[in-house]
Symmetry: C2
């Protein structure tokens, strides 16, 4: 397999043939028009300028100045990243890509960069969709992207406490492969699972497998090691503590601005043996939302509780329904879960939902999206879920804007927020593309509110698609912000969400965070411009 420098995942997995034709047919059915394919440019044609910095001899072996390497680390994997890659628009490229082998290398690289004022961008899988790894760092003599991929081992497993010490650079599948012989799993399956790393999940507070309870990676952390320019911060392995503000919670979500996460003790699970799942159709969206809220507040804690609205159900699950489809899944390594599913279905029926035949039984091996189950419509949606980023790339090559954004809000504000965001997206699409489709699904639900995830599809114009998307994104971000949502439930802040994050974040907390950053990173070299203004 070869990783794509410009797009999602593996080159060999790109959308083509019959899948591409079917995809384009679906799109033209929704948005009639001519679709022209645009090939990605060759690396040589990008004309990257030479690196501005040279590592000291002791670090030279860790550093790559290869143009393909530098190009592949210039952007994340947002729609705007893909399109800019396709257009050969790589204005900010790291001067070097450094690959430390261990914590000592991380320290040495930080020391060198701190001394020289060189910006350092910690890099996991590079799947950021918020400009988190893009070297837009003015005022530094150079930029080094620190790719942790060589630090990819499970170092220790504690089967009694069900926890493991894991290096931050490990990708999802390799992590699960190392845990499998111990009968354990992290069960953290973001959509990016195959192409993102533990360190990236921790740095960005990634959302994962569980729709309830353990929604973010934060809750699965027992302790962390973070190399900061001011020294190594190593928290103690503890199942719980009340000793001052949590050290780990400062580094969770710090997005590479306070230090480089090198390893963590993570809480693990046994693989589920019992499972029950179903999907439920609703004729009315408000009723579907009410049913989902009832389940979220019931204490049943489903592993999966994903409400697709009618458009999402149609486009990605091939289901035609008036209100929406709720995909429910329960799982356990210890006990039967059909009682829980039955009660959840009862709550759905109370709100007019029509369940499909419920299914249960043995579990498959831990894989992302494995639990979306409950009928073939939902199987369709699940495979769609994993293909979405590839399809997004194929559409981008055809100038179709296809992107997502997410938030979370309390239940009392959801209806208003949903309307405001949907209208803002439609209005913005009308302005820049004339038309477009907005979909919504819940990725996670809490007793006090949902995490809605929106999809946008619009016919872009080659050469203008980034500006068109940026216009739409600004409009929806504004709508989210003014409706009381968070600017990000799990995609992180990076550089792209900064204007709205700055308004969401309490002022005194910003001052405290900034002071903490100065204490840990006095030279201000760590991921400048992310979370905080560059100094």
């Amino acid at each position: 397999m070869t990783r794509s420098w410009w797009g999602w995942g593996n080159v060999e997995d790109a959308v083509g043939g019959a899948e591409l034709r079917a995809l384009l047919d679906r799109v033209t059915a929704l948005m009639p028009g001519e679709l022209t394919d645009h090939e990605p440019p060759g690396i040589a044609s990008l004309g990257l300028s030479a690196p501005r910095v040279t590592p000291p001899g002791s670090l030279a072996a860790l550093c790559s100045a290869d143009p393909a390497d530098r190009a592949a680390h210039a952007h994340g994997k947002a729609f705007r990243d893909i399109v800019r890659n396709l257009q050969g628009d790589l204005r900010h490229v790291p001067d070097l890509v450094a690959r430390p082998r261990d914590e000592r290398d991380v320290t040495d690289l930080l020391d060198w960069c701190g001394r020289e004022g060189i910006a350092v961008i910690p890099f996991g899988g590079g799947s950021s969709v918020v400009g988190g790894v893009e070297p837009r760092c003015e005022g530094h003599p150079g930029v080094v992207t620190m790719d942790l991929e060589r630090m990819d081992r499970v170092l220790e497993v504690d089967g009694t406490s069900r926890a493991a010490r894991i290096q931050a650079g490990v990708f999802g599948p390799h992590l699960e492969n190392q845990l499998r012989p111990h009968g354990l799993t992290l069960r953290h399956f973001p959509q990016s699972f195959e192409f993102s790393t533990l360190g990236g999940w921790l740095a960005t507070r990634a959302g994962g497998h569980y729709a309830t309870l353990y929604t973010h990676i934060d809750d699965l952390v027992e302790s962390m090691r973070v190399v900061t320019p001011a020294g190594v911060s190593a928290s103690r392995r503890l199942p719980g503590s009340g000793a001052g503000p949590s050290p780990d919670r400062l580094f969770l979500g710090s997005e590479g601005t306070l230090g480089v996460i090198t390893e963590a003790w993570m809480r693990l699970q046994e693989r589920p043996r019992r499972r029950a799942r179903a999907s439920v159709r609703f004729g009315d969206y408000a009723a579907a939302v009410a049913a989902t809220r009832a389940i979220a507040q019931s204490g049943l804690n489903p592993a999966n509780c994903r409400l697709l609205d009618a458009a999402e159900a149609l486009i990605n699950a091939g289901v035609s329904v008036g209100g929406g489809v709720l995909v429910l899944g329960f799982e356990s390594a210890d006990h039967p879960v059909h009682h829980s599913l039955e009660r959840a279905l009862e709550l759905c029926r109370d709100h007019g939902g029509e369940p499909s035949a419920a299914t249960g039984g043995d579990a498959r091996a831990g894989e992302p999206g494995e639990d979306a189950g409950g009928g073939s419509a939902v199987d369709t949606w699940r495979s769609s879920f994993l293909r979405m980023p590839y399809q997004r790339d194929a559409l981008a090559r055809h100038s179709v804007i296809a992107e997502t954004f997410e938030t979370a809000c309390t239940w009392d504000t959801f209806e208003t927020l949903h309307r405001a965001v949907t209208e803002a997206a439609r209005q913005a699409m009308r302005e820049v593309t004339g038309t477009g489709v907005v979909t919504c699904r819940f990725t996670h639900v809490y007793p006090d509110g949902p995490a809605p995830y929106f999809g946008v599809y619009a016919p872009g114009r080659w050469g203008s698609a980034v500006a068109q998307w940026d216009h739409i994104k600004a409009a929806v971000s504004e709508a989210i912000e003014t409706s009381g949502g968070t600017i990000t439930h799990h995609h992180a802040v990076g550089r792209d969400h900064r204007p709205w994050y700055d308004r969401q974040r309490p002022g005194p907390f910003a001052a405290a965070l900034s002071a903490a950053k100065t204490a840990l990173d006095p030279a201000g070299v760590l991921n400048p411009g992310v979370l905080l203004p560059a100094p």
Copy 2:
């Protein structure tokens, strides 16, 4: 009812009569010896020096210089506090007790104190057992204790999202009384419930009702308002977010060093309607621990899962058993929970446990300790739980050392930690009192480890009991620290846990926290000496 200035709770609820005689009989059975009662001193005999500071006219009405008021705010409610009160040893007394009526008053008080360099001690119920409210603040011209008791209202209830905006100074019972008409409850019942406040729970990361999942108040917080000298930090109401490090998590556990928490949106529950509970006897402690671990890792998530060791079961539940008693409780507002209890009991039987007859049925109104249920032994333990602080005071008057401390550790280290702590306590008691008893119970359990809570009973010597206890406490703290436990699972750090907290806390995090403190409290007046060295 009259609050005791020197001891726990209400004067009218103090242990006396038959309860006192029975208590003293139990103690002398365990530790033979003469027991002499020592009356608390009168306020006038304390000889408090005059306040060193005078409030500006605009704040005078908020401030009390009454000696009884000042004496009642000089100490928390640890054993060492009670004994020092009984001995009239009040070396550090606040100059004034200020009672703001609203956020504006809080700001004005902070402004005045910041200008003058006067130390400010935020004060909720004053139930700290770690020196958290004791004005041991050298280097300030005066100390003002800011008692939030006037800010005690539920300001807003959102029944849809099940959340309420609540002022920080409200005590447990008054909070629940205000929520009851809405059919909602916070269900946070620390042992101190009646005499502690929401703000105190948040500032100290208090442990509450739930033995699993929502163990700390932290998880019930939707958003917070904190008045800092640098301005008001107001976070957004959100069910979840991935936007940078969590602002709330910086203030949770800040123990009054970063600001004064004035209100919070808290996540609420419906009152449970279904309940199932049981107690299980074990002949062997290691088997009881293994059973508890199996339940903690099962995903059954009992509301109560409290393992009493043999000594704890004997002293506080009147049960004679070789290994221990596990108290189990499940509850739900939505669905039956007997399946869960049955499975938990099966896990107990797998480890040699003998369940009492399980019970279930209707719920009583929300009260602390209500769910310790499952047979009369456990009812005994429950009433004992609520009487413990009063009994501790009665024993203190008779020079009997009776105190608790707690920690949390991973399951793989529990046996070693338990042995080290128990031996350290016994050895220290032999050194200073010749004899004594150590008990252990789990207050909370996690998939990756328990939170053990230890009780110590030893025959103290009048006039030396504080020094004797300090010797024991230092020995057990040292054992906890070197065995890998946390210095506090839910009692907070205050001034008394500082030496061990400083060793537990990662150095770079300490630097970050200190920098955050300087940004928010540039004059260094907020609770000096707590969490961080006084400047």
